[in-house]
């Protein structure tokens, strides 16, 4: 079970990574298109090769039109998809300086407390994201350019948020077991 949960978190993070790489690729294509088009629009190019800029635009060479909104949507999914991995690897930022000399029992209890609260937060986030998604379905909001229904983006994030909640719940169970052992 431990291995399975870890594998889920890992696959989720890799899925986020694939989307991130896709965004990187898209932005690079957009930058390249923008740069070539700007070159073609320079005065001396316009005069020596008239029609080049128009031809390039007609061929679809130029900045990618929806780059901005795709990055906005994409990065939201990327971060949600990364959440399970930071949970399972215990990568969150915390201050350990004042708890370093706690006795083992108190230490285990404290660790369990934060895991429980973190699980509660993750479940809350996933649940509210679901409510938000229903709202976006109802009010039919879309992005500006591609008119992508916003609830699609919410739905993708919701899958990742549910995985994060699942992973955190599992970590909570483990932490509670450890605490129980320390107190036994």
């Amino acid at each position: 079970m431990d291995r399975l949960i870890r594998q889920i978190a890992r696959l989720s993070a890799l899925a986020g990574g694939v989307v991130l790489l896709a965004l990187v690729g898209m932005i690079c294509a957009s930058v390249l298109g923008n740069a070539t088009l700007k070159l073609a629009q320079m005065a001396w190019v316009q005069s020596t090769l008239p029609g080049l800029a128009e031809g390039m635009r007609a061929a679809g060479i130029g900045p990618i039109r929806a780059s901005y909104e795709l990055v906005e949507i994409g990065v939201a999914f990327v971060i949600f998809a990364f959440l399970p991995w930071v949970q399972i690897t215990r990568g969150h930022a915390m201050v350990e300086v004042f708890t370093a000399r706690l006795p083992a029992r108190a230490d285990a209890a404290l660790a369990a407390l934060w895991e429980v609260l973190m699980a509660a937060a993750m479940v809350l986030i996933a649940w509210r994201l679901y409510a938000g998604m229903l709202g976006k379905v109802k009010n039919a909001e879309t992005t500006f350019l591609m008119q992508i229904p916003l609830w699609w983006a919410y739905a993708a994030c919701l899958v990742a948020a549910c995985l994060a909640a699942l992973v955190t719940l599992w970590a909570t169970v483990a932490a509670l077991r450890r605490a129980a052992r320390a107190w036994a």
Partner: protein, 436 residues
């Protein structure tokens, strides 16, 4: 309890949670959501806000720069590029005591010139420079403190998001503010270098050093790093030349370093996976803090604590200079717990007219610019003052083997450098105004 009382009470509660080892983002989320629930007498508002605001906090074009630059750092490590870069830097300054840490501050300043965010600067440079500093024999405390402090250069050296917002709130000229931030930014980098020099004089064991190399060997060390220099040059030059935005620059940098790593054979499928996982861990850690900060800051805005604190300072009838110092002190305190942008948004509308109503012997425009730069610096100092500081937490989370008490000890030297600089700028406004 009154709204204000609840707001003020949340400070010690948040501190207590953080010191009891709660994940920082979680602690802020608990205080924000819990505080708002107590404030409004029901959880409805919190539940309603969470419907859209988690998504809209993560769905941010400007913040997308963070995972992209982190990925770039990972690829640079994968291809051995960061090591080569630091080896080259080491060839030139490695024989100086603390030289490599100073080079890291220089690198932060360079990176800060293209990036508008302190957290992003600290995290990205931390990823590249920390392992190299440790490898070169630098102590954990000095390494982490150097990068946490170096990260604050991200917002001081133009372009800076916070300065743009200040310009809008205070109705000042952006170009002039950018110019005005330039000399203080350089002073900051020099001050940090000085802090490192003094620190290693006091703690000689904290910094490794290498024998001085002949000039020929130094330039030979530059040879393997030219592709990296090309990529960094492309990213920085492209952003300054207006060919692309910082986010686009981050993507170009990630693609560029990725290609180099692939071309030099450093990129295995396994390596790419590890790079993604490491990027995932750090990005999610940072964004979770950003989410918590958004929640906590929105709660504070509901309680009107920042506004009331500001009006309290204003209402005391002190001399202009006392008011100025008091305001800077308020920013230093708030800076421990709030992110710079929220702080500026909440308080500048109140503090700015007050400052403009006082006589500091300067033209109104000069006063406005000078005050803006001072605020910017003090807000950034808050990011590295122990025990609570966002940059400290981020860097510490990236280096579990360094106890945060070691970071605390070393970062005080940098805080001292900052405070001396603030005192200098308050005493000699000309340092800020010289370029405009």
């Amino acid at each position: 309890m009154s709204d204000l009382g609840l707001g003020f009470l949340s400070f010690p509660v948040l501190l207590a949670l953080i010191f009891a080892r709660a994940p920082i983002g979680l602690a802020m989320l608990i205080c924000g959501a819990g505080g708002l629930t107590l404030l409004t007498g029901s959880p409805n508002i919190v539940l309603a806000k969470l419907k859209t605001e988690t998504f809209s906090t993560f769905s941010n074009y400007n913040l997308s720069i963070i995972p992209m630059f982190l990925l770039m750092g990972q690829f640079a490590t994968l291809g051995g590029m960061s090591r080569a870069l630091f080896r080259a830097a080491g060839a030139f300054v490695g024989h100086l005591k603390g030289g490599l840490a100073m080079a890291a501050v220089g690198a932060c300043a360079g990176f800060g010139a293209i990036c508008g965010s302190s957290l992003a600067t600290a995290a990205t440079m931390g990823q590249v420079a920390l392992p190299e500093l440790r490898r070169a024999g630098y102590s954990g405390g000095l390494s982490t403190a150097t990068l946490a402090a170096g990260g604050t250069l991200g917002i001081l050296i133009p372009p800076s998001v916070v300065l743009v917002i200040y310009a809008i709130l205070a109705e000042q000229n952006i170009a002039k503010l950018f110019l005005a931030a330039f000399v203080p930014g350089i002073l900051a980098a020099l001050g940090y270098a000085l802090a490192i020099a003094l620190y290693v004089r006091r703690h000689p064991e904290a910094a490794g050093s290498a024998p001085a190399l002949p000039l020929r060997a130094r330039f030979a060390a530059l040879l393997p790093v030219w592709p990296v220099i090309v990529v960094f040059g492309l990213v920085v030059g492209g952003i300054y030349g207006g060919w692309f935005t910082p986010t686009e620059g981050a993507a170009v940098g990630a693609a560029g370093t990725g290609l180099i790593a692939w071309a030099t054979g450093g990129m295995s499928w396994r390596g790419v996976q590890d790079a993604i996982l490491e990027t995932a861990r750090t990005s999610a850690m940072i964004f979770f803090i950003i989410l918590g900060a958004a929640s906590y800051n929105s709660f504070l805005a509901f309680t009107r604590v920042p506004q009331e604190l500001s009006s309290f300072v204003v209402g005391q009838g002190f001399s202009p200079w006392a008011v100025l110092w008091l305001i800077l002190l308020v920013y230093l305190i708030l800076g421990c717990l709030m992110d710079s942008l929220s702080m500026i948004l909440l308080t500048i509308p109140i503090f700015f007219p007050v400052i403009m109503g006082l006589d500091f012997g300067m033209t109104p425009e000069a006063t406005a610019i000078w005050f803006g730069i001072l605020v910017l610096i003090v807000v950034e100092v808050g990011l590295i003052t122990p025990p609570v500081g966002m940059n400290l937490f981020v860097i510490a989370a990236m280096n579990r083997d360094v106890p945060i008490s070691a970071t605390y000890g070393a970062v005080l030297w940098f805080v001292a450098a900052d405070l001396i600089r603030v005192a200098l700028l308050v005493a000699f406004p000309a340092i800020v105004l010289v370029l405009i």
